[in-house]
């Protein structure tokens, strides 16, 4: 499974850190999430029967899309929160205990007249 790093003569090629190109980049993941939300939620109205299915399928879709992006050796967690817009107050926070050098997160918010949707994606490197 390990990605091959440069051979230093002793035959050690298992890299313990992701290369610069393979980091879980916050900005590109956020862009990815944004595109999917715009496409899937553009004209959706809040509907209590359909929302559970939609929330689940959205999280699966975003996770699969991130896998396709090719973040090798990253474990990923995608959380989707969808709520009805009725003027209530909502607050969401997250804290992580990880390796700040290799791990990262991205989030995006989508709102229309009847609902709001928050997606948070976290990526942790597997050593």
């Amino acid at each position: 499974m390990g990605e091959l790093g440069p051979d230093d003569g002793a035959g050690n090629t298992y890299s313990l850190r992701p290369g610069l190109q393979h980091r879980f980049k916050s900005s590109s993941v956020k862009e990815c999430i944004h595109v999917i939300l715009k496409e899937k939620l553009a004209n959706v109205q809040y509907n209590p029967e359909e929302m559970p299915e939609l929330t689940k399928s959205l999280s699966e879709t975003i996770k699969d899309r991130l896998k396709e992006e090719g973040y090798d050796r990253y474990k990923m967690v995608v959380q989707v929160v969808i709520g009805e817009q009725r003027g209530e107050g909502v607050n969401m926070a997250a804290r992580c205990f990880w390796d700040a050098d290799t791990d990262s997160c991205a989030h995006d918010v989508f709102m229309n007249d009847s609902l709001f949707c928050v997606v948070a994606a976290f990526g942790c490197f597997y050593y």
């Binding site: 967690v77 209530e88 804290r95 205990f97 942790c124």
Partner: protein, 113 residues
């Protein structure tokens, strides 16, 4: 050549994590009514308390804790999460808590190193 000892078996114990989360919620927002000016402080308080208790367990895990607090006014809320990880070692725990004026949903994810 030294043999690598992995020490005690480390796995994500859902019950233990669930009780940690419940204590953190009770401690931070236990008897309070929803107040817009305080909710920011409450969400950060809940996640920080949960995270510090989880790290004290001393297991070889990376943790992610999220908390959503929502005022009760008849609106609906749905959450879902999708994870790409190792099912045998990683785990998640979600706790739903409510009082007369608000809902609080805390999710904790543990990823083995």
């Amino acid at each position: 050549m030294d043999e690598f000892q992995s020490g005690e078996e480390a796995s994500f114990v859902v019950d233990e994590v669930s009780s940690i989360i419940k204590e953190a919620i009770e401690g931070a927002i236990g008897g309070n009514a929803y107040q817009h000016s305080k909710v920011n402080q409450w969400t950060t308080g809940v996640v920080e308390q949960t995270l510090s208790q989880l790290t004290k367990l001393g297991k070889p895990f990376k943790y992610i804790v999220t908390c959503v607090i929502m005022q009760k006014n008849g609106a609906g809320l749905h959450t879902a999460s999708s994870c790409f990880w190792d099912n045998s070692s990683d785990g998640t725990c979600t706790v739903r808590w409510e009082n007369k004026t608000m809902y609080c949903i805390v999710s904790a994810f543990g990823l083995a190193i």
